[in-house]
Symmetry: C2
Subunit: 251 residues, 2 copies
């Protein structure tokens, strides 16, 4: 339909980057696009930390579980929910600095940070870069906060590695998009709906390979028993909750 | 630099829509783009509720505080953090259905929902539509959940009104984007940095008008005393926390 729609449809996760440098001009365009999106009450409740220094990448790598893209990518952008700047603005203008230390305010800042993050991704891909989201940023929040020197009311919520692709993988197999869309009200999923929605994915060669490697009968069990187990999730939920409190957001 | 970057730079909030209908073809392109983004572990932890029915708009309007765009927009998209579908998949495949009932898992689903929401926005704007985010969706979560019939593990996190613009406002005045970007580590904001960052905004005619209307000396106090007060924020924080627990996410 147009170039932008094609960019969005063609999104893939790129984990291997070429040696081609990302120019300052290109990075500036991505960052400016990130800062051009919608924001709660025009408060702009986010900050972006740019990592290009090799030493900084090495420091963060263990907390990204040493995924290769965490050290191999030329640029890493960490998007933070940030009420610090706005609170400082309030402080220096004799306004209440305690109004935004709650879960609702944190939620607004998370939304702002993610709007910015996705804008950066779309901008980067439109300029020929490839990228990968590192979910690990929400696991080891306290370690990243130490390394990036995040003050009160700043919480990392998204981390994206970027560079020119060395290898561009094929499109990821996703559920049929109409299965994620509901008209007027939520239409709950019964067994038949789930079977239909997952049919293509479950029948794929990729899935068969994963099941073989994991010696498990289906993908759901690969997720719950190997990739994202209850024990891990509950542990990292506790880390996140403690960190939010430490940063000054009452949960 | 290219059409996509221009679309991102040119974003404005559009609250008044023309009578021009949004075709099914256009809406499908937007929804497909929404479903094409990155997602945690390819779990696709979101759902989109499409509102076009006038009666549904009227039901929701009071909880959007009767903002005109909540009834006047031809299309409203509500993006939900959704672990329901994945949990049902687990249930029908004899996998653990209790692994994702925690704050960390909720966080992943919020991220997925917002990636989808911002993709939808970029797609819509590239096709000539205008849009407005309704922050009210995170205030009155329980009422929206009733109206949209959201089951366990589904939480509305973004709501966007869309249509062809009747009036396209000028670009919103934002902070200089470089003030939101930090190189390698977070550089905290002292008074001088805050003064510099907010100087242009504080000197604008728009700000002067707002201060005159509110009879207050600065924008910070307009936010803390009028727009988003501590009492309101803490009330809606409690509503949100209670709702997350009700939906099965332990906070």
């Amino acid at each position: 339909m147009n170039e932008t729609i094609n960019t969005l449809y063609d999104h893939v996760t790129v984990r291997e980057y070429s040696n081609r440098e990302v120019s300052d001009e290109t990075l500036d365009a991505i960052l400016k696009a990130a800062c051009s999106g919608s924001t709660m009450g025009n408060m702009q409740l986010f900050s972006i930390i740019v990592t290009r220094d090799e030493e900084m990448k090495r420091k963060m790598a263990p907390y990204h579980f040493n995924q290769q893209q965490a050290t191999q990518a030329p640029v890493i952008l960490t998007f933070c929910a940030d009420f610090r700047r706005f609170n400082r603005y309030c402080e220096f203008r004799d306004a209440d600095t305690t109004a935004y230390s709650n879960l609702q305010s944190y939620h607004w800042a998370v939304i702002d940070a993610l709007i910015a993050a996705q804008n950066a991704c779309v901008a980067a891909e439109s300029l020929g870069l490839g990228l990968c989201w590192l979910g690990t940023i929400t696991y080891n929040v306290d370690q990243f906060a130490d390394i990036l020197q995040l003050p009160q009311h700043v919480v990392p919520v998204a981390c994206i590695t970027m560079g020119y692709p060395a290898v561009t993988p094929p499109l990821t197999q996703k559920l049929p998009w109409k299965g994620l869309v509901h008209q007027e009200i939520y239409h709950d999923y019964d067994k038949e709906a789930i079977d239909r929605l997952y049919a293509e994915k479950e029948a794929s060669e990729e899935t068969k390979q994963i099941l073989k490697e994991n010696q498990l009968p289906n993908l759901a069990q690969v997720f719950t028993q190997r990739r994202y187990t209850k024990a891990d999730n509950e542990h990292f939920a506790e880390v996140l909750r403690d960190f939010l409190e430490k940063q000054g957001f009452t949960v």
